[in-house]
Amino acid sequence: MESIIQIKGLTKQFPVGAGKFTALRDISLEFHRGEFTGFVGPSGSGKTTLLNIIGSLDTPTEGEVTVLGRSIAHLTHKQSAQLRNQHLGFIFQTYNLFPVYTVYENVEFALLLQRLPTAERRKAVLDALEWVGLTDKMDSKPAQLSGGEGQRVAIARAMVKRPAILLADEPTANLDSKNSHHILQTMKQLNEELQTTFLFATHDEKVMGYLRRIISLEDGRVVKDEEIIMDKITEG
């Protein structure tokens, strides 16, 4: 499998008052195309920070993070925006949908930035809404959707541009069990069909049941990195 993310000796510190808080300590990891991997651990263990750095929303204090051949620490604002726009998708715990846009417009947004022709955009948006089963809601505003529907719109928005990597930060934290499974099954299906690499930050047991690789973090350190065998996944 092709290696698309390499992390070597990553340390991330944040200034806190006069001192510094170390969120990640000397982390080295590698991820391949098509992985369905989760960072698990308690709050403050560094899961979100790690996702943010991989997503080029933040930079390492020490060490090297390379995503799709680009060193995150050396990207300009414009280059990192381009990386996110072309190759990365994000799903947030609170969906982060734009409230004044319709479902269609929310999903279309990423493609507007890519300046795709209207017809091409429309086809991609309708495909994405079909993946998540929300074609009939495309003219609704986010406020008119249920939590599960909102998160499915967020998945469609993240997947519409067919990113190489999708970063999901606690995607099921605000959902009930039924919606969580629905969302996870949708993501699993997209992972298999499109070979998108999914990286989760989660402490939701339901998510863990779908993961093929679980990386446990504690106090900013990787304490366990385990591959999950296939029959266990199907049970999940």
């Binding site: 943010n52 604002h77 726009n85 982060n96 507007l112």
Partner: protein, 389 residues
């Protein structure tokens, strides 16, 4: 284009706040145009009236004449220069003779200026044809303000006393042949207009004048010793008054504009705090920070564009109506010594409208950009968490 599309979508989605901002800004926009329209209308009216009623196409002054120094009037007269007599005969110059005198309306005494003017002149709008001699009476014209001040009306008789060129006092009773209504106070208040030949005879100054008013077709040539004063000179005081008036009204509409811009500034500052997650999401989805700054800045500019459209919608008919019916000046305005009509008809030139549109759009864009700059420095992960301080 994307920034415009997003900005308009965002502000349409913002509901009442957008309506408030647009309403206040459009009010400022319409008021600025109206105030400037009134000033421009007044300016045009005052210029036109002053030219038509007082200064014509310029004036030739006797070397001793100083309109601000009444003591100069005693010596400010002389024979009409040789080279100018032909122009006077051809009707391209109108001679005016000025002298100080006292009037005795209804037993009271009041200082007045006697002004002699040929009854047949056609350069100034003063109805001098009413000064044609009738029934052996000496006709006199006065303005409406003067008539109100001395409580006289047409056909009333007014006693005048003056000193002739030798310093001897003389007196005469004149008949008010007409009362004219004009907006130029300098030909009205404290002035009695008489036939030129009559005044020349009263003063013992045949063939003399104090100044010559030029009409169309007159070209000042030759050295006659009389100084030619053109419009730039004669209208300088009026221009200064209008400029100062413009400055004063500028303060009023400046305040209005500041209130409107403060509303936009406040909205944008609030938006940046309230919409942190949205900003973080824009960046996460692949926008650069400056593109996000662009959206917020364009939002401010979009307020101004919508305000202009709204202003055009209700302000257009309103301003057109006011331009038709005029804007009544407060009573007493005419007594301030400024050429001002009872009604001013605002004039809205293309320059005024374009300048105001640019002023509103540029200032709204600037006040939106100022708080939006903060986005360029923010950390997207803090924005996503809603932690911007």
């Amino acid at each position: 284009m994307l920034a415009f599309k997003l900005a308009f979508k965002n502000i349409f989605g913002a509901g009442y706040r957008t309506i408030l901002n647009i309403a206040v800004l459009s009010f400022a926009f319409v008021t600025i145009i109206f105030y400037n329209g009134v000033i421009d209308g007044w300016n045009q009216q005052a210029r036109r009236d002053t030219i038509e009623w007082e200064i014509g196409q310029g004036q030739l002054w006797h070397p001793s004449y100083d309109p601000l120094d009444y003591f100069s009037y005693q010596d400010a007269h002389g024979p009409i220069p040789e080279g100018m007599r032909e122009e006077v005969s051809a009707g391209r110059l109108t001679p005016i003779l000025i002298a100080q005198a006292s009037a005795f309306p209804q037993g009271r005494m009041q200082g007045v200026l006697l002004k002699g003017i040929p009854p047949g002149q056609a350069i100034l709008k003063i109805p001098t044809h009413e000064l044609e001699a009738q029934d052996g009476q000496v006709p006199a014209l006065i303005g409406k303000r003067m008539a109100q001040s001395i409580k006289m009306k047409e056909d009333d008789r007014l006693l005048l006393r003056w000193r002739d060129k030798n310093g001897a006092f003389d007196a005469l009773e004149v008949t008010i042949a007409g009362v004219f209504d004009c907006n130029v106070p300098t030909i009205d208040g404290g002035q009695v207009w008489l036939p030129l030949a009559q005044l020349q005879e009263m003063l013992g100054m045949p063939g003399e004048a104090t100044l010559l008013v030029a009409g169309e077709g007159f070209t000042p040539t030759g050295n006659t010793g009389w100084a030619f004063k053109d419009h730039d000179y004669l209208l300088a005081d009026l221009n200064k008054i209008i400029q100062s008036k413009k400055g004063g009204s500028g303060v009023i509409y400046g305040l209005l504009l500041i209130i409107a811009l403060l509303a936009i500034f406040d909205t944008q500052v609030l938006a940046i705090f309230r919409r942190q997650k949205e900003i973080g999401t824009y960046i996460a989805l692949g926008m650069t920070r400056w593109q996000v700054v662009g959206i917020f800045t364009v939002e401010g500019a979009a307020y101004s564009i919508l305000a202009i459209l709204l202003g055009a919608l209700y302000g257009g008919p309103l301003l057109w109506y006011l331009g038709k019916v005029g804007w009544a000046m407060p009573s007493g305005s005419q007594d301030m010594g400024i050429s001002i009509a009872e009604k001013i008809y605002p004039v809205y030139g293309a320059g005024l409208i374009i300048t105001t549109v640019l002023l509103v759009v540029v200032s709204a864009t600037i006040v939106s950009f100022l708080p939006a700059r903060k986005i360029a420095r923010l950390n997207p992960t803090d924005a996503l968490k809603g932690k911007i301080q």
